[in-house]
Amino acid sequence: MKKSVILGTLTVAGLAAGAAGAATLDDVKARGKLNCGVVTGLVGFGAPDANGEWQGFDVGVCRAIAAAVLGDPTAVEFIPTTAKTRFTALASGEIDVLARNTTWTFSRDVDLKFDFVGVNYYDGQGYMVPKALGVSSAKELDGATVCIQTGTTTELNLADYFRKNNMSYQPVPIETNAEAQQQYLAGACDVYTTDASGLAATRAAFENPGDHVVLPEIISKEPLGPLVRHGDNDWGDVVRWTFYALVAAEEYGITSANIEELSAGTDNPEINRILGTEDNLGAMLGLDAGWAKNAIAAGGNYGELFEKNIGENTPIGLSRGLNAQWTDGGLMYAPPFR
């Protein structure tokens, strides 16, 4: 076995010389696979199921990008990243796109040199407490012990919130969501705080979800979205517009069910442009004319992805809220395709 590693190293070193310096889009096409960084396991957003297939909302975005670029939604290599490793993995080129419920912040965008291509989930940090505690507002949490997942913006928000309200608390930092659940259920902490969507997902996995309540206060803005490396604008455009194609598809009523029918040609020029039957938008991105069609066919439009993975009929049971289309009073708003 040891020899093979030596050989592997040699081959890799040999390959490296040729691969250096190419643009991400060309890399992905040459490789035939998209390397997509995902969470190590958060039900609803990205987690392997019992058969080892990755499932989830963020995973759906990865599959859509792969379908748009390579025409095959399964041509994705899912690379699990922790809060600690995600940014280096992206910066060093190990992954092409990071779709790992990552909050868009100033310093990540500017200082760490990444580009957030959009927001696929508008979230905010909330608190979950056992009902038996009789707490109805986060303002009553003075002196509580709070479980947090380390390495996220939640730690900072938590510190800010308690300082602002002049309350004290004891943080219990925990590596993974599974361990946080264990601690919380055992009563090692009174409160569990993370993004409200994560709280809902966690609560859904409990034996008696009814015994726990999510407090009404949302203490932060957490726009979660896919991100790419700063500087490779062509690739950024591909990811951005693939995502917006999903959003626009919902707006115009393109679903995975009727997409074949619609791609035969419709009276709506916007739909035609998205599906590539009018004006070749794909060519401008360096993709096929049917790029958006493939992306939408991969897992459905934005609304379908939402409903299938985290919507009200799933165990996670999130309502659309801010993530509804702008026509329904939400924030999902795709720029025009023209």
């Binding site: 003075d142 509580a144 800010d160 943080p171 930092p173 590596e175 264990q182 055992a186 009563g187 009174d190």
Partner: protein
């Protein structure tokens, strides 16, 4: 003579760099040096190129920025407005604390288990062998997780202490074992407590003086003064007298269940206890093996000679066997201490905020300064290791058999 055995000194030729053993070593060293420099240069230039491509730079400025996060165990003053550097300091102290506690506990456990493994009692011997094998052959990470799970899943939550019919109660009304940690009474230093403390320190010195006097008396005159109970009397009686005379200046602050948690007293965090005991029990198994090997290395004749002089088994152990065994036990013991310090970096698994958790964890995540943070982290552990192995060398030189 020397002129005869010296080879004739010919003129230097280039081929001598390879063929002549006198010069060949220079060639090899030169090549090695060039290779090392080339490797570092290559890595460095890659680093520069990568950083330039990503638009990043190496800077330690983040250490001076405000950290914005809270830490649950701070031995020095710290708040979320303190700097990242301060957070790293808190982490270092937390590492030292858990390593110190675990080293002491592991030594006690290890010595006990090591001695008991040689006990004439069959069942105890087997039990200790079971302990040693079970802990030596399972990864420390698994033990840390198991003990942490015991801490959180088996011990009661503070809630259980509440209500008219609590399912859990405090030990002696003073100690509360909860899954958030152990709550114990904290001393409150009233006026006059300084005198009590001084008297206590003086008593400790007094005990040493008395014991030295007794030993001297024994050697000079052969008269054996009792050692045990007078020491205890000297240690406690004056302090207690002063304590009551001054009207009990030191009182205890008992932990009390208020709001969400116990308030008052001292809280020992659950994560600290879990890590501390996991490391102590795990390393204790290794120390037990060293102790056993050390004791077995003392030849049987020594113990038999002592026995034939009429010494009691306890004294044989304390005065004859252990002092000789220590020379074998101490060096691996110190490297076990080193292992404890290094293994304490697994604190990250239980959420204990040591240096890996603060500087190598939250700070790294929040600032994204991976290279700088990890470099500092390695530097810290390296310094600790060098300090400990320096100590070990000093000790080794001190106890080396003085051969005359």
């Amino acid at each position: 003579m020397t002129t005869l055995s010296d080879p004739p000194r010919g003129a230097f030729r280039l081929s001598m760099l390879i063929n002549d053993t006198r010069y060949r070593s220079y060639t090899f060293q030169f090549i090695a040096l060039v290779i090392v420099i080339a490797i570092f240069g290559y890595l460095g230039s890659n680093l520069m190129a990568n950083l330039r491509a990503a638009g990043l730079n190496i800077s330690y400025g983040f250490l001076g920025q405000s950290s914005n996060y809270d830490i649950n165990q701070t031995l020095i003053e710290y708040s979320s407005r303190s700097t990242h550097w301060r957070a790293a300091m808190v982490g270092i102290l937390n590492t030292m604390l858990v390593a110190f506690l675990a080293c002491i506990t592991a030594t006690i456990i290890g010595v006990l288990a090591g001695v008991l493994r040689l006990s004439p009692n069959w069942i105890v011997r087997k039990l200790m062998a079971g302990y040693v094998e079970a802990f030596r052959n399972v990864p420390v990470l698994i033990w840390i997780i198991i003990i942490f799970t015991i801490m959180t899943a088996v011990l009661p939550a503070p809630n259980a202490f509440r209500g008219d019919n609590p399912t859990a109660s405090m030990l002696f009304g003073a100690f509360a074992f909860t899954n958030r940690g152990l709550y114990l009474p904290a001393p409150v230093w009233g006026p006059g407590s300084l005198i009590v403390a001084l008297v206590f320190v003086a008593s400790i010195i007094g005990v040493f003086v008395y014991r030295r006097y007794a030993t001297k008396l024994l050697y000079d005159t052969g008269k054996l003064l009792p050692m045990g109970w007078p020491s205890l009397v000297i240690l406690f009686v004056p302090t207690l007298l002063v304590f009551f005379v001054l009207g009990r200046p030191i009182s205890l602050d008992y932990p009390e269940l208020k709001g969400f948690n116990f308030q008052g007293g001292i809280q020992v965090l659950g994560s600290l206890i879990a890590l501390w005991w996991a490391l102590a029990i795990y390393t204790g198994a290794f120390i037990a093996e060293n102790v056993r090997a050390g004791i077995q290395s003392v030849s049987k004749g020594q113990a038999e000679a002592a026995a034939s002089l009429g010494m009691r088994p306890n004294r044989i152990m304390n005065l004859v066997v252990l002092p000789q065994a220590l020379r074998v036990i101490i060096p691996p013991l110190i490297s076990n201490y080193l292992n404890i310090t290094k293994n304490s970096s697994l604190a990250i698994v239980v959420g204990y905020m040591d240096i890996t958790g603060t500087l190598g964890g939250i700070t790294l995540n929040q600032t994204g300064r991976a290279i700088e943070a990890i470099l500092l982290l390695m530097l810290f552990y390296l310094l600790i290791s060098l300090a400990i192995s320096g100590l070990m060398n000093v000790y080794n030189n001190a106890v080396r058999l003085k051969e005359r």
